[in-house]
């Protein structure tokens, strides 16, 4: 297994773990952190493939992902705080109102 396959496999594993975390954990903040892990996994694959092709497009995309992550967290945290103020819990099951 060479470096490229190792890094892409690592990115895959991190993404799968992040996805699993979003599905199975019940704390809203932990779910948010698992989403950050998924973004990190995407970044790792972008960097790896940018190194393989030796272009700067991948690095630019990683830069944009950084900005998107910062914007996402800047909006998600106030929303979490508002939800907690309304129901006094971080448990995702407390917000199952939309369930059919």
């Amino acid at each position: 297994m060479d470096k490229l396959q190792l890094l892409l496999l690592l990115a895959l594993a991190l993404f799968a773990i992040g996805l699993l975390g979003v599905v199975i954990r019940r704390n809203l903040l932990v779910m948010l952190m698992c989403m950050e892990l998924m973004l990190n996994a995407a970044n790792l694959s972008l960097v790896t493939l940018a190194r393989q092709t030796d272009t700067s497009a991948g690095a630019v995309l990683v830069f944009l992902v950084f900005v998107v992550a910062a914007a996402e967290i800047a909006i998600a945290i106030p929303i979490v705080l508002l939800l907690v103020r309304r129901r006094h819990t971080l448990d995702a099951d407390a917000y199952a109102d939309l369930k059919g």
């Binding site: 199975i24 932990v30 698992c34 950050e36 990190n40 690095a59 630019v60 990683v62 448990d91």
Partner: protein, 172 residues
């Protein structure tokens, strides 16, 4: 000597990959959000080390600066702000534990099998990818994306203020 250094690089890559994977698995298992946040910080730092190892040093620096020091500090503040006696801190998993785990394993397996069959060009270059080349490409070829980014950030700030204002109105 050169070959020895190359071997050492590969060894370090395996070590960092294993450590970041261990941090990610710890995120699934640990109970308290603060510990999960610490595991995520560790994972991000090891990923930064990997970026440094494959030669994109400025992305390694940004990984530490933006992710570890800005985003994670924000999350840790919120964890400290909220109540620890909440039920969500004591009950770890939602009801979808087993189907979720099966789906994640299948997802990983399918993509890994595809990866195994398709990628054959090895990663040979480890020469540093300089920030000079990146800056020229970024501001000449991708300047529009750069400007759109600033619009996105302004929109995020306005949205955050709007969310806080709307929530404040409901509860006086």
């Amino acid at each position: 000597m050169e070959a020895l250094l190359q071997e050492f690089d590969t060894l370090l890559l395996y070590v960092f990959a294993g450590l970041s994977l261990a941090g990610a698995i710890a995120m699934l298992v640990l109970q308290h959000p603060m510990r999960v946040a610490m595991a995520l910080v560790a994972t991000m730092i090891w990923l930064g080390a990997i970026y440094g190892l494959v030669g994109v040093h400025f992305i390694a620096a940004f990984q530490i600066l933006i992710y570890v020091s800005a985003v994670m500090v924000f999350i840790i503040y919120v964890i400290m702000l909220l109540d620890v006696r909440d039920m969500a801190y004591t009950r770890r998993y939602a009801g979808l534990l087993i189907p979720g785990a099966i789906a994640a394993v299948v997802f990983f397996g399918v993509l890994a099998a595809t990866l195994w069959r398709t990628v054959e060009v090895p990663l040979t270059t480890t020469a540093a990818f300089g920030i000079g080349q990146f800056a020229v490409d970024f501001l000449q070829q991708y300047w529009l994306q750069f400007e759109v980014t600033s619009v996105l950030l302004v929109a995020a700030v306005v949205a955050a203020i709007a969310v806080v204002k709307a929530g404040g109105k409901d509860h006086g």
